[in-house]
């Protein structure tokens, strides 16, 4: 008696919290640049009243609010009771929750390596051939997205387990246009020009680059982006693919070559604010602030599209600060314009009608446009109206994505977690600390051999 009463009270305490009120950011039917027809059609086909959907994702803070504005339309259309949650240690929590048998309905994760692991342990539900065909038909460079979303299941057979949604472009170099004007620098079009500019800035007695690898427990990751970007610019994409699967060893000249290219920038005391010794310990969130110092501590900063959140308050992108595409080598024209990116993938961790419906929802243009119209969202979906991009810089990033001849996902996310989120990071820290590229590469390869 006491026990059931206790349970009742506990349950009461849980129920009392109220669900988030669904407030639609853009009123359906009002702004014609949105694809409202897709929303109405989806609304007609789905009724999930009385059902619940739990989503676990990586977005917190501002990003969470943005995602909320998107799923409000899903709630509006279906009447589902949607619960979104996230946590600082989402990687750890999704492992615990799936392993213990209490997963969310839908999980959204940015790490293909982790998804591969979940799929191989049988925690994911295949999305089926229909979704695969949909990706091929509707996403630009559809095959690369299908490849990204296909993993081996528990039975060892490959199947489509994830749905890519929301892309970040990583191949960006940030700068302050007015500082360039003051000093008379030009935005480089080729890697050779970028290197010449680096030399020139150094010759002027200034520091060209701000590089910071610090990120607490994840220290080292910004350097992996550099290496991947340079890898795509020095080697064909299939070498990159082999690299992330370890079909060519880490010690391959192709890999050490990219490491040394990065070393050219980061290991030269004259090229980096604070000197090479500061690279590993400067926090990545602090490093771009040097661009805005008076006098500038540096002129260039390589980082993904999210970095403006760490610019000083009030910085207007496109005016106070801008970015250019990390250029390819003039001498390697055949490699085209490769783009390195990252993104999040949605997958079904508990097969319910609501979870299925949510994946269907992600196939509607409106699910993309609502986020596009705000900030920090890029999509390869061909049917969306690019005019909905919320601001010119976002649109410019969308163009970089469109002009890409090659798109590759962040390699460190594709590698097994112990490498891509471990040995590779620590290896890069050792590398900027002065260890030779050959030693670093053989260290990472050794770690990779250990988990095979």
């Amino acid at each position: 008696m006491k026990r059931s009463f206790l349970m009742g009270v506990a349950a009461l305490a849980l129920v009392v919290g109220t669900a988030d009120a669904a407030e639609l950011k853009f009123k359906p039917g009002e702004d014609s640049k949105f694809n409202w027809a897709s929303f109405e059609e989806f609304k007609k086909g789905h009724d999930l009243k009385g059902q619940t959907l739990t989503i676990f994702g990586p977005w917190r803070g501002e990003d969470e609010a943005l995602f909320k504005s998107v799923y409000a339309y899903f709630v509006e259309a279906t009447g589902v009771d949607l619960k979104y949650s996230s946590s600082e240690n989402y990687e750890q929590q999704i492992v615990i929750d799936t392993q213990a048998g209490s997963p969310p309905d839908v999980a959204i994760l940015p790490q293909p390596g982790l998804i591969a692991d979940l799929a191989s342990k049988g925690h994911l539900t295949p999305l089926g051939d229909e979704t695969k065909q949909w990706l091929l038909d509707n996403y630009a460079a559809g095959q690369s997205w299908v490849d990204l979303s296909t993993y081996n299941g528990k039975d060892g057979k490959p199947a489509l387990y994830a749905f890519p949604y929301k892309i970040d472009v990583k191949s960006l170099v940030w700068y302050v246009p007015e500082n360039f004007e003051d000093a008379g620098y030009e935005v480089p079009k080729t890697m050779e020009e970028l290197k010449a500019l680096t030399d020139k800035i150094a010759a002027d007695g200034e520091k060209p680059w701000c590089i910071g690898l610090g990120s607490g427990g994840a220290t080292g990751w910004p350097a992996t982006d550099w290496v991947e970007d340079l890898m795509l610019r020095t080697q064909p994409a299939d070498v990159y693919d082999k690299w992330v699967k370890n079909e060519i060893p880490f010690t391959d000249p192709a890999v050490t070559g990219a490491l040394d290219e990065f070393g050219w920038f980061a290991r030269n005391d004259k090229f980096v604010d604070g000197g090479a010794a500061a690279v590993a310990s400067t926090d990545f969130r602090d490093s771009p602030k040097g661009l805005f110092a008076s006098p500038p501590k540096c002129y260039l900063h390589h980082q993904a599209s999210f970095i403006p959140s760490f610019f000083p308050e009030g910085t207007v992108i496109g005016e106070d600060a801008d970015f250019f595409y990390m250029p390819p080598y003039e001498s390697k024209k055949e490699l085209g314009n490769p783009v390195l990116g990252a993104g999040t993938l949605a997958m079904i961790t508990k097969d319910t009608p609501a979870a299925r419906a949510f994946i269907e929802f992600l196939k509607t243009p409106i699910a993309h446009e609502v986020w596009m119209a705000q900030t920090s969202f890029l999509t390869p979906y061909k049917s969306v109206n690019v005019e909905t991009y919320g601001n010119p810089p976002l649109k410019k990033q969308g163009e970089i994505l469109l002009n890409a001849t090659t798109f590759r996902f962040d390699g460190s996310d594709l590698m097994p977690g112990k490498i891509g989120a471990g040995a590779f990071w620590t290896g890069m820290v050792d590398f900027v600390g002065g260890k030779s590229s050959a030693d670093v590469a053989s260290g990472v390869q050794k770690a990779w051999d250990a988990i095979k």
């Binding site: 009463f5 506990a10 492992v95 342990k121 427990g217 220290t219 820290v429 600390g433």
Partner: protein, 336 residues
């Protein structure tokens, strides 16, 4: 408001249920085997029975919780350490073979021993000194609260604090890390402290000492205040000075508590991982066992077999402390 009421209600019910258990079981025991009001043989027989049963009544909830929440997971871990990364296929001792050949594991063992030597000793020492000194001054409570504060700061906060101490900027630039600012002011060269192999261990240890001294201080201060005033008064009358009273009268009296604090912090050091995770994540050769375990357990989907085998090693390391405690308890019982 509704949630607040529900919360208070659940709290009261939960706590009352717990108290009711102890009261009612003891009541029932005394009711079945009364010893009062009975005479002679029956009373002493009942007394013997209740004396045999009552310890287990007292212990039952604790044993229950310990079994479920700690012993069962330990059993699971030991089992898992013989399985592969997904915890499905039996692999025998291979996780342990991998471990002894792993450079990072050996590095962690070495670092852990460093931590074990330094942190418990210094935390306990500072805790004892502070507890003793603050007892004698009028603003002792304020001082204690300030020393206690690091314990109360959430870990994310502590990580930021120490970032602002160990931060490194290049020579010539304005230092925002306090340590480097002091070094520069004294004419030295700034250092990236947490990236200096071997020495960075000590910079990380400082953080744990900073936090744990508050723990040692509170426990030891309670113990110091438990010393009967009469013994101290007697010593004062005998003409002992402050040092003598402290080392010859007080320290021996609380020796048991000092050992307990030392043991507790030693064990905590074996488990320490969040400081290392947040400051270096084991890079620059600062890896420790608990962080290594966490890493294998959860990063990139996790390798449960290897994670569990490292956990087993951590648990084995505590065996000497267990034996020492058995000896102590046995000695105590003999003297009783």
């Amino acid at each position: 408001m509704q949630q607040l009421l529900a919360a208070i209600l659940t709290m009261i019910v939960g706590v009352l249920a717990c108290a009711a258990y102890f009261w009612s079981t003891n009541f029932i025991l005394d009711w079945i085997f009364p010893s009062k009001g009975l005479s002679g043989k029956a009373a002493s027989r009942n007394l013997r029975i209740t004396n045999a049963i009552r310890p287990w009544l007292f212990l039952a909830p604790a044993l229950f919780a310990l079994t479920i929440y700690l012993i069962y997971p330990v059993y699971q871990s030991v089992l898992l350490s013989f399985y592969d990364r997904a915890g499905v296929n039996f692999v025998g001792w291979s996780n342990y073979f991998w471990m002894v050949n792993d450079g990072e594991f050996r590095q962690s063992i070495f670092n852990n021993f460093l931590w074990l030597l330094v942190v418990p000793a210094l935390s306990t020492f500072f805790g004892l000194i502070i507890a003793a000194l603050t007892d004698r001054i009028w603003w002792g409570n304020i001082a204690k609260t300030l020393i206690f504060m690091p314990m109360a700061i959430s870990f994310v906060g502590a990580a930021v604090i120490w970032k602002f101490i160990y931060d490194y900027r290049a020579e010539g630039a304005e230092q925002i890390g306090l340590l480097n600012a002091i070094v520069v002011a004294l004419g030295g060269v700034p250092q990236a402290w947490i990236t200096l192999p071997f020495w960075n261990n000590f910079f990380l240890m400082v953080i744990l000492i900073w936090i744990q001294t508050g723990f040692a201080m509170v426990i030891l201060s309670a113990a110091l205040r438990g010393i009967p005033e009469e013994t101290i008064e007697a010593a004062v009358i005998d003409g002992a000075n402050g040092w003598q009273i402290f080392f010859k009268i007080m320290v021996p009296q609380i020796w048991g508590t000092i050992a307990v604090v030392w043991t507790t912090i030693t064990i905590l050091v074996l488990k320490v991982f969040d400081i290392v995770l947040a400051m270096t994540n084991g890079q620059w050769q600062s890896q420790v066992l608990a962080n290594l375990m966490f890493d294998w357990m959860f990063r990139g989907g996790g390798d449960f077999g290897r994670g569990a085998s490292i956990a087993v090693v951590i648990m084995i390391l505590v065996v000497p402390i267990m034996i020492w405690n058995i000896r102590n308890a046995a000695k105590e019982m003999r003297s009783h």
